[in-house]
């Protein structure tokens, strides 16, 4: 009986449907029926074939019962077989008395052989069954490790473990991982959460590295069983299971399988944590590098103008008398230009800070595109003097923050000036397309390496150039921030025939600036 129960419990293995064995009493009925059939065949033919040979039929029935019905029914078959043989086939028939005492040996022989055969057959059956169970466990374990192998993210790993544990063992499962010095539930079957008691058991199991709770030697009154997730480096967490049906208990082989699950899970969790650590290290290294680059860049860019200004002033202060007037003048001009550069840099840093802090607001009102362009050209002043500038812009109004947009165009023009050879033309083109206002600044400069096209709008990003070009790498990032505050887009492309095109696109309300629309 106990074998039967055990068999049926272990059948709870996913994706491997095995027909459940018949119930016990059915097997015994089958074995009775088998003996009855043999007797029914034996009675009519016992006149033709000698009784001692008919014994073989009963032996065959016992072997069949041992193979297909199990040990108990086989023993029943052998006993019934001896009785039936005596009753139906041995003179005097239809009574259990035996005339010839020789037959006593036949009975004993039949019964002994039956017992041996049925024992051997049943054992081989049990071995086959055990092998099948081992295979099923191996498959369950294999499926778990296969699913874990294809997962690298910690939360999905936990989900995979939870799913496999609950499917294989008919148990609600939870995984607890240490977080900030405390063990906390990180993932669980739907609706399952450890209570305070369960958490205490898990904590003990985590500290001691030993299973605890239900079905173990420690804290066995608990409703949950906790298995530490151990790897060579230590305990990474705790797997905790609770039977769906409180009456069921795990069997030794199930416990072993559950422990195997736990070590698989532990390895996978450790792998994910190590990967995460590696990623964090990489990120913090990159951040550190960025900060260092930023500090270098900013301190260099802030100091350079100050060096020039301080140098000029001290030189005028100390030996102003012995300097020629033209030399004085050129020193002063340079110092003033440096001061202006410093002012631009501080302005950029402030703008970037405002964008980063999210306090930059675009006050949108209808603005004349041509006017914005001319304001930007105005700001660059004499720096554009030696450049042929062409402007193609329709007279349209579009909602924008005039000052911010003028700054965007100033930055774009400033870049065009910086990254194209002196004397080459700069073109500004505006057009209305798909309900957007597009303004492009085109130069005949060095262009941008293809892989950098998307990155030039990143903060502090500068395209690597052989000679040190001025600039903080903030100009385009500021443009991007401003354009995004307008719900617009900005992008760069290389210009056919050489050079760069940077385009901004702003959403536009249809307000036309043609004289006909004016009412007077």
């Amino acid at each position: 009986m106990s074998t039967e129960t055990r068999l049926s419990r272990l059948e709870v293995i996913p994706r491997r449907e095995v027909t459940r064995p018949r119930r016990a009493w059915q097997n015994y009925a089958w074995s009775v029926a088998l003996v009855a059939v043999i007797s029914a065949i034996g009675v009519p033919i016992h006149t033709v074939i000698s009784s001692t040979n008919l014994v073989m039929l009963y032996l065959a029935a016992v072997v069949a019962a041992a193979l297909y019905l199990g040990r108990g029914p086989a023993i029943l078959a052998s006993a019934l077989g001896v009785l039936a043989f005596d009753f139906f086939l041995i003179e005097p028939r239809l009574t259990l008395t035996v005339a010839d005492t020789e037959y006593i040996f036949t009975f004993i022989g039949l019964f002994a052989v039956s017992l041996v055969v049925s024992t051997l057959a049943a054992r081989s059956q049990e071995q086959a069954e055990a092998a099948r169970k081992r295979e099923a466990q191996a498959i369950a374990l294999y499926e778990l490790s296969r699913d874990l192998a294809t997962t690298s993210e910690l939360d999905s790993i936990l989900q995979v473990v939870i799913r496999h544990v609950s499917e294989t063992f008919s148990r609600a499962a939870a995984i607890l991982l240490p977080a900030g010095g405390e063990l906390a539930q990180r993932a669980a079957s739907p609706g399952f959460a450890l209570d305070e008691n369960g958490l205490a058991v898990a904590a003990w199991s985590f500290r001691q590295g030993q299973p605890a709770g239900r079905g173990t030697d420690t804290l066995s009154a608990a409703a949950v069983r906790c298995i530490p997730l151990k790897t060579a480096r230590g305990v990474v967490g705790v797997l905790s299971v609770k039977p769906v049906d409180p009456a069921t208990h795990l069997l030794p082989e199930q416990r072993r399988l559950l422990e195997a699950f736990a070590s698989q899970a532990a390895l996978a969790i450790e792998r994910a944590e190590l990967a995460e650590q590696a990623r964090q290290t990489q990120i913090s290294q990159a951040t550190e590098e960025l900060h260092r680059a930023l500090l270098n860049s900013v301190s260099h860019d802030l100091r350079t103008p100050l060096v020039a200004i301080t140098g000029t002033l001290s030189s005028l202060e100390e030996d102003g008398a012995c300097l020629e007037e033209s030399a004085q003048r050129s020193l002063i001009t340079m110092a003033r230009e440096e001061a202006e550069r410093l002012n631009r840099l501080v302005g950029n840093l402030l703008d970037m800070t405002r964008i980063e802090a999210g306090v930059l607001r675009a006050t949108e009102e209808p603005c004349d595109v041509q006017e914005v362009i001319s304001a930007a050209l105005d700001r660059l002043g004499s720096r554009l003097d030696r450049r042929p500038v062409t402007i193609e812009a329709p007279a349209v109004l579009a909602p924008m923050d005039f000052v911010l947009m003028a700054q965007v165009l100033t930055n774009l023009l400033d870049n065009a000036l910086k990254y194209s050879p002196p004397g080459t033309p700069i073109d500004i083109r505006a057009r209305v397309a798909d309900g957007m206002l597009e303004i492009s600044v085109l130069d005949r400069g060095f262009g941008v390496p293809k892989e950098d096209l998307g990155r030039i709008f990143d903060k502090f990003y500068r395209v690597q150039r052989a000679e040190g070009m001025g600039g903080t790498g903030l100009g385009l990032a500021i443009c991007k921030g401003i354009i995004e505050a307008h719900r617009g887009h900005i992008w760069a492309q290389n210009r056919p025939g050489g050079g760069t095109i940077v385009t901004v696109a702003l959403p536009r309300e249809p307000v036309a600036a043609d004289p006909g629309s004016e009412t007077l």
Partner: protein, 230 residues
């Protein structure tokens, strides 16, 4: 120091700025007085009777806008606002409150002196000349005649009113709000697009290159200014 030059009151809470302005303006023949905050500025205007106030916007306590308002309650003396780029709104508010002009820190001395001279000149001759000319552009307010070079320019009534407002205040910055109120009337102060459209049309009629205007200058985010030829 002679007492003959124009008198300028410098209001700034930064000593470095006051010192530099004091020295530079004195060197150009101005009589310079200092005030370190708004309250002091109001008293100093009564005490020293300056010809012009150079007023920092970011004062502690009574700020530049408030000082401008209080001064405008009783005097039309020229006020030039000194701001930093981040005070866009305060600058416009001060101009709307009646300040004459502004300079943005850091500024060059040449630029500041030009603004000071222009403001003093406007204050000295409050009655506008009926005739204005700058480069190829000539405007005769008495005859409602606008010419560019040899050619008479036909303007719509609105465009003419706009130009007239600029001519009367030639050299002075006019905020969007001020222009809208003067040309369209009270209640139109926020209809910026009317101003943009008419300004665009006016420029196309007057400017040789509307994309790079040489007569009507844009003060980004603030308003417009008609350039005065030296």
């Amino acid at each position: 120091m002679t007492d003959s030059g124009p008198r300028i009151l410098v209001v700034d809470d930064e000593q470095a700025v006051r010192r530099f302005l004091h020295t530079s303006l004195s060197a150009h023949g101005y009589n310079v007085f200092d005030a370190v905050n708004g309250q002091e500025a109001l008293t100093a205007v009564v005490a020293h009777r300056p010809d012009l106030v150079l007023l920092d916007l970011g004062l502690p306590g009574l700020d530049g806008i408030e000082v401008t308002r209080r001064l405008r309650e009783w005097t039309q003396l020229p006020i030039i606002i000194v701001t930093v780029q981040e005070q866009e709104r305060a600058k416009i508010a001060a101009l709307d409150a009646g300040a004459d002009d502004y300079v943005t820190k850091p500024f060059g001395m040449g630029e500041l002196l030009a603004r000071v001279r222009a403001a003093l000149r406007r204050a000295a001759s409050p009655a506008a000349e009926p005739r204005f000319s700058s480069g190829q552009l000539a405007v005769d307010l008495s005859r409602r005649l606008v010419t560019v070079g040899e050619h008479e320019v036909q303007l719509t009534p609105t465009e003419y009113d706009l130009l007239r407002a600029l001519v009367i205040n030639a050299g002075k910055v006019l905020t969007h709000r001020q222009l809208l109120r003067q040309v369209w009337g009270a209640g139109y102060e926020t209809e910026t697009h009317l101003l943009r459209v008419n300004m665009s049309n006016l420029r196309h009629k007057l400017e040789p290159d509307a994309a790079r205007p040489s007569y009507i200058l844009t003060e980004p985010g603030v308003g417009y200014r008609l350039r005065v030829n030296a």
